[in-house]
């Protein structure tokens, strides 16, 4: 998967989100993402990361081998 594919998966999966994706290794399977969305407000870090996991879906256990996640509100 490319970084722009992952960016659009996340931005489609989490409403009003802005996502920055970095391919950590250049191998299209280890990514670092920063997800900014107002929907994270009032949620625990666990809940925020679960929203990111849900948006990435099955890719997280197939094509993506590592995902470093940072979440925050705008």
């Amino acid at each position: 998967m490319t970084d722009s594919e992952l960016k659009s998966i996340l931005e489609n999966g989490i409403d009003d989100s802005t996502v920055v994706v970095r391919d950590m290794t250049g191998t299209m399977d280890h990514f670092e993402v920063e997800v900014v969305s107002p929907l994270f407000a009032g949620k625990s870090l666990i809940e925020q990361h679960k929203m990111v996991h849900a948006a990435v879906g099955h890719h997280l256990t197939t094509t993506i081998h590592a995902l470093k996640i940072t979440t925050r509100t705008p």
Partner: protein, 109 residues
């Protein structure tokens, strides 16, 4: 063969536990290594379960926690997150607070 019940027992009988890839002394993934390094810095005893030790561990863990990735870090029976969350909690001071409270509770029981 690991079951979710067994995962639960390990998590509940150790105040600090990490389920990750590799062992405490030989982590096999950068994220697991980072989680271990953080738990090591807390100055309290902790256990590491290597999910590669048995092929049934990962499935049993994931069905118990409903969390798809490793490492998974626990304090006093509660899943607090993967290495990114644990690192954030370390920096904010929340991790030390949570761990100190967990050990105070354990010692007074």
């Amino acid at each position: 063969m690991w079951t979710s019940e067994e995962v639960k027992n390990v998590i509940e009988s150790n105040t600090l536990v990490i389920f990750g890839k590799g062992t405490k002394f030989e982590p096999m993934c950068g994220f697991t290594a980072r989680a271990i390094e953080i738990y090591n810095s807390l100055g309290k005893p902790y256990e590491v379960v290597n999910i590669f030790a048995d092929e049934s561990i990962r499935g049993a863990l994931t069905s118990y926690t409903n969390w798809p990735t490793t490492p998974q870090c626990f304090v006093a029976g509660e899943m607090i997150g993967g290495s990114d969350i644990v690192a954030e909690m370390l920096n904010s001071g929340d991790l030390q607070k949570k761990v100190d409270a967990a050990f105070e509770g354990a010692e007074s029981n």
